[in-house]
């Protein structure tokens, strides 16, 4: 599998890029040229270094409070990646668990779950997140709940459908025949077989969560303002787009690059794990 993934040059480069973002996020305190929250009142809205009016101390320029954009972007990677990982893991566990139970046992549980899922699917995610966040104010626990609220449904649907198919497979019938327990069949027999599509889904969900978090932060109801976050930075730069376009542009470019890399990597993963999807 790793071989296939590496053979796909685009996916390999994308994977490296994702790793680079993670490294930058982890080592931000060492790599960043400035303290991300340090204000330089003498250098407000400084231009990027390549412009004639640029300030070489601030490679990508500074914002309306004179904070170094590059350093804030580096620190901003931390919260984006951290929230992406936490939310995706949480929804992966919940969605897969519920999906396996519904697929294996069917019956009343499955019926109730499918009603819940239908309701959640009809629910405009963003407006729900807005409602929670507006009421509680920007805080990370509410943000994770808002992002996870509907996110598990995709994992649920994949896990349920795959378990439903596996339930009748020969290897499961065989395991049942030799007297294996239900828990053993679910976790040791079926689970390993349904993992690949779930991993692919997790990668693609990560991209969606990063954008969703940035959107909420942009609206001022995501990450608390004391933590540097890309969405907040774009919002901060919005007032200055006429005079200092770089403040809103660069953090968005960071979102775009990371999400693009995650998407490309996820698609490469899908091609490597699922031969049917290869074109």
């Amino acid at each position: 599998m790793l071989k296939l993934l590496l053979a796909n040059r685009v996916a390999a480069v994308a994977g490296l890029l994702v790793v680079a973002f993670v490294m930058v996020a982890i080592m931000a305190p060492i790599l960043a040229p400035c303290d991300p929250n340090e204000q330089h009142p003498e250098a407000i809205r400084a231009a990027p270094f390549w412009r004639a009016d640029g300030d070489s101390r601030f490679l990508l320029g500074s914002d309306s409070l004179g904070r170094d954009l590059l350093s804030r972007i580096m620190f901003g990677a931390r919260i984006s990646i951290l929230l992406g990982v936490v939310v995706v893991l949480l929804t992966l566990l919940v969605g897969t668990g519920l999906g396996m139970l519904a697929g294996y046992f069917g019956g009343a549980f499955d019926a109730v779950m499918s009603r819940i899922v239908d309701t959640l699917l009809a629910f405009p995610f963003l407006i729900f997140a807005l409602a929670i966040m507006a009421a509680t104010g920007p805080n990370l626990v509410a943000l994770v709940s808002a992002l996870a609220f509907k996110g598990w449904v995709d994992f649920y649907r994949v896990a349920r459908a795959d378990v439903l198919a596996a339930r009748e497979a020969d290897y499961v019938t065989a395991a049942r025949g030799v007297g294996a327990s239900t828990a053993y069949i679910l976790f040791s027999e079926i689970l390993p077989n349904i993992v690949p599509p779930l991993i692919v889904l997790a990668a693609l969900r990560m991209a969606i969560i990063i954008i969703a978090e940035a959107s909420l932060s942009f609206l001022g109801i995501g990450v608390p303002p004391s933590i540097p976050a890309w969405g907040t930075m774009v919002a901060d730069g919005r007032a200055d787009i006429a005079s200092a376009w770089w403040i809103a542009t660069f953090p968005g470019l960071a979102i775009l690059t990371l999400v693009l890399a995650v998407n490309l990597f996820g698609e490469g993963l899908r091609d490597a794990l699922d031969p049917r999807m290869r074109q």
């Binding site: 309701t119 629910f123 405009p124 963003l126 009421a135 609206l219 787009i241």
Partner: protein
């Protein structure tokens, strides 16, 4: 047959809508923002009596379950009571005033996405891995990886501020608002033969429309491309070619019709996402539609208004899926309805 199909699907809507309304109702009421405090925020000194009076006026002193029952009954009739934040107006009139703007923008974005995505997907599929296909694939990836609010801002910077080609906020030049017919400015301008108003409304739609359409265009393009590649490899397409039919007939009639079947579902799903995306785009462009109304209503703890808007979004989302299923059945005779 169709009657039964529709009836059944509409009945299935009811539990979903009750679920949605219940979640909205609960989250809005269990959260700490108190609408009475919001309303009296700037009013200065008020007595407890006045607060109680207002609470009773809006029915907020009753038990939660009673409030929910009343809310459901009224919602079924399209009544959501008075708005807390738009003084002296009902939720219904506030929503009705904003709805045309959102419909106009969403429809505009929808048209851009479709007009762009279907031909691009078809052309890309004709020579997979050719130059056009590669460009379109990269474009589509950018489209789905770009946050909408940022694309909006970048478009504003380039086309509004640096080039001055297009306006960056609002719906229309305030001096040019056409005579009211439907509330949809472009349509009203056409109906009253008002050229300048039409042009102004269209220019105001351009940037938010493109920002909104980008992810949908990307997803639809990818779907059309991959299903066209699949269909073009089928025997009946080869046969049509072998018969000597012109390539435009083979591609446009034989292949495209079948390739569009799986596309219909993606289009419905993406249109649902367009609707929720307009909250962000309308906020970025200060576009006075339902999405911006919702964002403002939440900030003002205007429960009835938020509930109404969420229900509108949910109903349209579910209806879109219904339309998609019906279209799917109409296009693909193998699908059994009912």
């Amino acid at each position: 047959m169709w009657g039964r199909f529709l009836r059944q699907r509409l009945l299935q809507l009811i539990p979903v809508l009750i679920g949605v309304s219940f979640i909205v109702f609960l989250t809005m009421h269990l959260t700490p923002g108190d609408p009475i405090e919001h309303m009296l925020g700037q009013a200065g000194r008020v007595t407890q009596e006045q607060i109680d009076e207002l609470r009773a006026h809006y029915g907020l002193d009753r038990p939660l379950i009673v409030q929910y029952g009343l809310f459901l009954g009224n919602a079924a009739r399209g009544e959501f009571g008075p708005s807390y934040s738009h003084h002296g107006r009902t939720v219904r009139s506030v929503v009705a005033a904003r709805l045309p703007a959102t419909l106009e923008l969403t429809l505009f974005a929808f048209v851009i996405a479709i007009v762009f995505a279907i031909p691009a997907g078809v052309i890309a599929s004709l020579r997979p891995h050719g130059l056009f296909d590669r460009l379109a694939t990269v474009g589509a990836l950018l489209g789905i990886s770009m946050p909408g609010f940022w694309l909006g801002i970048v478009l504003m910077i380039i086309f509004g501020l640096q080039r001055h080609w297009l306006p960056i906020s609002g719906r229309i030049d305030l001096a040019l608002i056409p005579e009211y017919v439907t509330g949809v400015h472009t349509l009203d301008a056409l109906l009253t033969a008002n050229g300048p108003a039409f042009w102004s409304a269209l220019k105001h739609l351009a940037l938010p429309g493109v920002a909104m359409a980008a992810p949908m265009a990307a997803m639809v393009m990818r779907m059309v491309r991959s299903s066209m590649i699949g269909v073009l490899a089928q025997d009946y397409v080869q046969f049509a070619r072998a018969k000597g039919l012109p390539e435009t007939t083979v591609v446009g009639k034989h292949a495209l019709r079948n390739a569009l079947i799986p596309t219909v579902n993606i289009v419905a799903l993406q249109t649902g996402l367009l609707l929720s995306g307009n909250m962000i785009i309308e906020t970025v462009f200060q576009f006075p539609g339902l999405g911006k109304l919702a964002v403002d209503a939440i900030a003002a703890a205007d429960y009835p208004l938020v509930q109404a808007v969420v229900l509108i979004y949910a109903v349209s989302y579910v209806l879109l899926n219904l339309v998609a299923d019906a279209l799917h059945a109409a296009l693909d005779p193998r699908v059994q309805i009912a």
